[in-house]
């Protein structure tokens, strides 16, 4: 369990984290969702004792990250966002090095990493620098797991990894969770949020919301529609000017339109037809985490 209380950290003039208070429960996958620059990496560096907060305290399994950092390092595995293993060592040499540093060996802890490592084992004699993105990520995860950590911290592990490897990676995380590991993960991909047990939405160093993904989407109060048609740019502007209490934003191929109050869709369609939008489709949809994110981002006035 990780308890974060009133954590702030600034870099020069920029507040990377302002007054974050949060409990990360044990034995589940806890996801931090937010765009680049939200402060996810800073928070992770604070949790993994790489940095000292300006104010506040973090207790990891009851140990203080500032005073008892050495204890924490024994049972924490960290996978930084950027590949940080030795490119000029082979897969096997990297693993052996990190194993010995923690006072164990690859042979002894092979069973711990088998599910991950078996994917890259055929390439164990290859230099880490010569691996593909997905293989690098699996090697990094193997190295982070080699000392059987109780807490695993993964900073954007799936950024820059192909869709198949991403799916595999999340399956691996769920396997690890089954074994009783606490997994803290961050991602800029909203679709990965649904795979976490609990998520925290962060934006510009502030915590917007923390809850189960289902609850977050369930608590979405607005009425949401997907609108698609020709000339999206003009369409989005006309939708925004349709009536007060409406927000419209581009979401993939479609425009997501949300209303504070229950709208009259026929009236909207007629309005659009009058404005010269011919073939426009308007369909009610279920909110996704991203919709919730945008909604709470705008309502917190942090646009």
């Amino acid at each position: 369990m990780i308890s974060i209380s009133n954590i702030s950290k600034t870099f020069g003039q920029i507040a990377a984290l302002s007054n974050i208070t949060l409990e990360i429960p044990a034995k589940q996958i806890f996801g931090f969702i937010g765009p680049d620059g939200a402060g996810k990496t800073t928070l992770f560096r604070l949790i993994t004792t790489l940095m000292v907060p300006d104010s506040g305290a973090i207790l990891v399994n009851g140990f203080d990250t500032v005073k008892e950092y050495r204890r924490i390092r024994m049972f924490t595995g960290y996978m930084p966002g950027r590949f940080s293993l030795y490119m000029d060592l082979t897969v096997e040499e990297n693993l052996n090095f990190y194993a010995t540093i923690f006072g164990t060996t690859l042979e002894k802890n092979y069973h711990l990493i088998k599910s991950v490592y078996s994917h890259i084992e055929p390439f164990r004699k290859r230099l880490a620098g010569k691996l593909s993105g997905g293989m690098k990520q699996k090697l990094a995860l193997s190295c982070a797991l080699i000392h059987n950590p109780e807490i695993l911290v993964l900073d954007e592990p799936t950024t820059g990894v192909d869709a198949v490897s991403r799916k595999e990676f999340w399956e691996l995380l769920h396997e690890l969770k089954q074994k009783g590991m606490t997994i803290v993960v961050s991602t800029p991909y909203m679709d990965e949020a649904a795979k976490c047990d609990t998520i925290a939405l962060v934006h510009k160093g502030r915590l917007l919301e923390t809850d189960k993904p289902g609850k977050i989407t369930g608590s979405f109060k607005e009425h949401l529609f997907a609108v698609s048609g020709e000339n999206q740019f003009r369409l989005i502007n006309d939708l925004r000017n349709y009536q007060p209490g409406v927000s419209a934003y581009l979401f993939g191929q479609a425009i997501h339109l949300s209303f504070n109050t229950k709208p009259d869709i026929n009236h909207l369609k007629m309005h659009l037809a009058k404005s010269g939008h011919g073939d426009v489709k308007v369909e009610p949809i279920m909110p996704s985490v991203e919709d919730c994110f945008i909604s709470s981002m705008t309502s917190s006035g942090n646009h």
Binding site: T48, T76, Y78, S84, D88, F97
Partner: protein, 373 residues
């Protein structure tokens, strides 16, 4: 302790896997010794000179013959026009012009005193003063011969007695410049390996982000520092041995003093250099920055160390500043031990200074490293 061993194992694996590292370790001393020792000599031979003899007498010709016979000069052109000679001097075709004016012999005969003009290209001050000194000695030889030839001429009244100076050069009897250069080059080599490669290696971990992964492990900072410094300490000492061996084979470098003493001093000296490398690495974020930083420090230290120009000829403030230059200590001590055979007592003072130096540099480096990382 075991942790340090694992780090060392990893470091050596990386160092020997690095494709540029082995050539640096083996080829650099070889090339530096061959090129620098042979090229960076202060002896000057065959200086290009031009002669403008407007007298064309037997006396003037004798003087020119003196120059012709000297190994230091080579007459590339004789002309009657001083204008042409000056033009050659200006355009760099010659470094030195001897101008004998008309009436040289006549004046010498009548007044027992004649003058010649020496024009020296002084763009390089060191070359100019050496050229001048060599030319003076040729002319003064000519002078004394003239005096002897004329017997009791009035010339003698100018130099009533001559004192013959017989020099004998101790510790380097043949004044072999190479014996002076080899130890100098070795100092540079060892220091470069120590400071530069250490700094580069540590900064590389920062640049590639691997330090991040190291920092979340139980590896302590002193483990990491020791693990980083020991490989280059060993490699630098190996370089010294290898360089000495090459110097012996290639130039017959004498080793008068005790090698054990030399390596004792070198091993302490290297702590200073490694500390410097660690200090540099804390000041830089990328390998590029560390290159520029080390370049600045190394050039300053090397040029002040007395490798080419004797440290004793520096101005007083420079000599004081040199007390802070670790290179100067090793430069002095390695020459003392190799050429002079100085013993422990002779270098004890320097050894104490360099030990204090090592403690301060390493202390500062570690303190800064702990704060920075």
């Amino acid at each position: 302790m075991q942790t340090i061993l694992f780090i060392l194992q990893k470091e050596f694996l990386q160092i020997f896997r690095n494709k540029t590292m082995l050539p640096i370790i083996v080829l650099v001393p070889f090339i530096q010794l061959i090129i620098l020792v042979n090229a960076a000599t202060l002896e000057m031979k065959r200086i290009n000179m031009e002669v403008v003899d407007n007298d064309m007498s037997s006396s003037s010709r004798k003087l020119v013959d003196r120059f012709r016979a000297s190994p230091f000069f080579s007459i590339t052109r004789t002309t009657f026009s001083i204008k042409e000679a000056e033009k050659d001097l200006l355009e760099g075709r010659t470094g030195f012009v001897l101008h004998i004016m008309p009436g040289f012999e006549e004046k010498l005969g009548k007044e027992s005193k004649a003058s010649v003009q020496l024009l020296v290209d002084a763009v390089n001050g060191m070359t100019a003063s050496l050229t001048n000194a060599y030319a003076q000695s040729v002319i003064s030889d000519y002078n004394s011969d003239m005096v002897k030839a004329r017997g009791g001429n009035a010339f003698i009244s100018i130099m009533p007695k001559t004192i013959d100076i017989e020099s004998s050069y101790w510790y380097n009897p043949q004044l072999n410049f190479k014996y002076y250069m080899v130890p100098g080059i070795l100092v540079i080599l060892v220091s470069m390996i120590g400071a530069f490669l250490t700094a580069l290696n540590i900064v590389r971990e920062k640049e590639t982000g691997t330090i991040e992964q190291i920092n979340v492990t139980p590896i302590r900072k002193y483990h990491f520092i020791i693990g980083k410094l020991i490989p280059f300490w060993i490699i630098a000492l190996f370089e010294l041995a290898f360089g000495l061996f090459l110097g012996r084979i290639l130039f017959g470098m004498p080793v008068v003093g005790s090698l054990g003493l030399l390596f004792l001093f070198a091993s302490v000296y290297l702590l200073v250099v490694l500390g410097l490398g660690l200090l540099l690495s804390t000041m830089a974020q990328s390998q590029q920055q560390v290159m520029f930083l080390s370049f600045f420090f190394l050039i300053t230290f090397i040029l002040m160390s007395g490798i080419f120009t004797p440290a004793e000829s520096m101005p007083a403030w420079g000599q004081k500043a040199n007390l802070l230059n670790p290179f100067a200590y090793f430069m002095r001590v390695i020459r003392m031990i190799l050429l002079k055979g100085s013993g422990f007592k002779d270098i004890a003072g320097d050894l104490i200074s360099i030990t204090i130096f090592a403690a301060i540099t390493l202390g500062m480096a570690i303190w800064r490293y702990r704060k920075a990382a």
